[in-house]
């Protein structure tokens, strides 16, 4: 079966296996090599692809929910959207969420996903109390910070390479309402944006969209979006809002022709978006769904890039000289005449203990590029700049890094491989990405 990640690149021929029975999964692992676990296949590149894909989508049962303490245990294949449906009405929220709710619990842990609250709350892995992991030899190991902690610390952010996460227990975040108090500030330059990130560091959620179509040689327009969970008293002014989970997302039932998304359309989009926000600052109360998951409203938005697919490029650079690094990157992109449809900039907080975890204190930039001939040479040059500034890359979005760049930016890989050799001595679990990056 021809399959791919969210970026529709690369496309590979793979065998997809899924079962709700642990025993069947154990036999499948016993009988096959070259395996990678996969959740909802929302990682962009080749990190959840291989010849044999072990989908956890049929492991989709909830095991326990303590609505007093806010602790939920579920099998790895449940979606964040399903968790939200259960926990939000009881006054709880995901401790950390990425920009889509269509990810599985197991996949999100394996990527150690981050969200708009990273500067305050860190990554998802920091809220995992314990997990059951199925190892290559068929053994199921329970692990937590105190039990089998080495396995725990390397399976979180482990890209599915340590074994199959079967279930996990997550500590939730208490909320009073299902709404977000949002503040949007228009910015005219990167300096202004940085300063505002700094001033507003006490906000739980912060993220910015920037328009990079002109590079950094002219002013870079941006929108800083800040948010807090609304309290009951905040809703007094907005009583007409109803407490309901949003309905079915709209489908994009066809592929846009490849031609639609060229440089000028992206520029028009960015200008329009920026112009839509007329005032300098705008405050609003919005339902959590539209705040956290604006793109989920369009199901399969990835198809707007056409059949050829697209690549994400996300890195983090340390705070010091971070601004300079990002300007160099933006100028390089402009020199290549490339453009990113949606560019997200955010500050990260401190690094955690998980061996391969991506977020590190500094600035992170995430960009989408439709796949074109000039893209990979440009990426190679961007990689050099990121390396020069001591940055690192997000594996969940990667489909292009070279083994050399990867090793330089991830010195922890040696430790990871040492631990992997203990739990998966025959290297049963591999992905196209781990093979490409030589680990």
């Amino acid at each position: 079966m021809l399959t791919s990640g969210w970026g529709n690149y690369p496309k590979v021929d793979a065998e997809l296996f899924s079962s709700s029975k642990i025993q069947d999964i154990i036999s499948y692992i016993g009988n096959n090599n070259n395996l990678i676990p996969q959740g909802f296949a929302r990682s962009y590149g080749d990190s959840a692809l291989n010849g044999h894909i072990l989908s956890t989508r049929k492991l989709d049962h909830f095991i326990e929910f303590d609505s007093e303490k806010g602790i939920i245990t579920a099998q790895a294949g449940v979606l964040f959207s399903e968790i939200l449906q259960i926990v939000v009405p009881k006054g709880w929220f995901l401790p950390v969420t990425p920009g889509t709710k269509y990810v599985t619990l197991g996949g999100a842990i394996s990527s150690d996903v981050h969200g708009k609250n990273h500067h305050k709350h860190g990554t998802l892995g920091q809220y995992v109390e314990s997990m059951d992991i199925l190892l290559a030899n068929g053994e199921i190991k329970h692990c937590s910070k105190s039990e089998n902690s080495e396995l725990f610390n390397s399976a979180i952010a482990g890209m599915g390479l340590m074994g199959v996460i079967l279930s996990a227990t997550l500590k939730l975040h208490k909320i009073e309402t299902a709404y977000i108090k949002q503040k949007v500030i228009k910015t005219r330059s990167l300096e202004e944006l940085y300063e505002l990130f700094e001033i507003n560091r006490n906000y739980t959620y912060s993220v910015s969209w920037i328009d990079i179509t002109g590079g950094a040689r002219r002013s870079v327009n941006g929108l800083l979006m800040l948010g807090e969970h609304a309290l009951r008293e905040d809703l007094q002014v907005n009583k007409e809002k109803k407490d309901v989970i949003a309905g079915n997302p709209l489908d994009v039932p066809f592929y846009f022709p490849n031609i639609v998304l060229n440089h000028s359309t992206i520029k028009i989009f960015n200008t329009l978006y920026y112009a839509k926000e007329l005032k300098k600052e705008k405050n609003a109360i919005t339902y959590f769904d539209s705040y956290f998951y604006p793109l989920d409203i369009v199901n399969n938005w990835n198809k707007v890039y056409g059949h050829r697919g697209f690549l994400q490029y996300q890195f983090v650079v340390p705070l010091e000289h971070g601004l300079q690094a990002i300007k160099q990157i933006l100028n390089k992109i402009a020199d290549y005449g490339q453009a990113s449809f949606l560019t997200v900039l955010k500050t990260f907080g401190k690094r955690n203990d998980f061996v391969l975890s991506f977020p590190d204190e500094g600035y992170t930039l995430a960009m989408d590029f439709p796949l074109t001939r000039g893209l990979f040479p440009m990426f190679d040059e961007l990689d050099k700049i990121v390396l020069d500034y001591g940055g690192r890359f997000y594996l969940t979005k990667d489909a292009h890094l070279s083994p050399e760049t990867f090793r330089k930016s991830n010195p922890e890989i040696e430790k990871f491989l040492e631990i992997k050799a203990k739990y998966d001595p025959n290297n049963k679990f591999q992905s196209l990405q781990s093979k490409r990056l030589g680990f």
């Binding site: 079962s19 029975k21 049962h61 909830f62 095991i63 326990e64 449906q85 259960i86």
Partner: protein, 244 residues
């Protein structure tokens, strides 16, 4: 108190999908089956997702004493009963080994009566309730590839039809569900034509829709009604020479 529905075959893919649909509209659920661990996982999932009460009992449809034991322990009268146990078996084996043929018929038909008769009598007496049986399009005409399974399902469909006739004046709804191809554990590994193949969730949605509309017989996907009509009207003289 919530209404409740009894799912005989609570770990079957279709049984669990139907249980989820009833839980979604506020029914309490009782699951029956052989695999205690899997029953527990399914019951927990139903109660967490849908905020209802879900429990489970052990029952092995091939072990008649386990049916007696369940009926002795289960004191309440449910609002509905769903029979979703099915066994495809191995046609070639069943042609040569009577035990396999008997097993196919016992699971799909004979032993179902031991438990459905019990609840049919209760429902008749209290003049309310519903019985939903998961039969199969395979019961609509005997074909060489699966006629032992097909004949068990034919008997099951006929049993449900008679039950419906008997209980129609007693405010008891009896529904025969005839799925075509469905992607389940039972059909895992079989090459199934995409357009004619349904999922347990789609079957469950069709069942709930049919139940609300007081349907008697539900084909799912609905196109199977017309496919089976076409298959049924072929004269036996010609049909016997076909290979479908």
């Amino acid at each position: 108190m919530n209404k409740n529905v009894l799912i005989i075959g609570g770990t079957s893919d279709i049984g669990f999908a139907i249980a989820s649909e009833f839980a979604h509209i506020g029914f309490d659920i009782t699951l029956l089956g052989r695999e205690r661990d899997a029953l527990k996982v399914n019951a927990n999932d139903l109660s967490i997702r849908h905020n209802i009460n879900a429990n489970y009992y052990f029952l092995d449809i091939l072990d008649l004493s386990s049916i007696d034991e369940f009926l002795n322990n289960y004191k309440q009268v449910p609002d509905g009963v769903i029979y979703s146990i099915g066994y495809l078996g191995d046609q070639a084996k069943a042609q040569n080994e009577f035990d396999e043929a008997k097993k196919i018929v016992d699971i799909n038909f004979t032993n179902s009566m031991k438990i459905l008769n019990h609840f049919a009598n209760q429902f008749e007496q209290k003049q309310s309730g519903f019985i939903i049986g998961i039969s199969s399009v395979a019961g609509d005409r005997g074909r060489q590839s699966n006629y032992i399974y097909g004949s068990a399902k034919a008997a099951f469909s006929t049993y449900l039809s008679g039950l419906r006739n008997r209980l129609s004046g007693k405010n008891v709804q009896v529904i025969t569900v005839k799925p075509g191809f469905v992607r389940t554990k039972m059909t895992a590994g079989l090459p199934l034509p995409e357009k004619l193949t349904s999922t347990p969730k789609m079957v469950a949605k069709d069942v709930i829709k049919g139940w609300k509309k007081h349907k008697d017989i539900i084909y799912t996907k609905s196109i199977w009604r017309w496919i089976m009509l076409a298959i049924k009207i072929v004269p036996e003289k010609i049909f016997k020479k076909t290979n479908i």
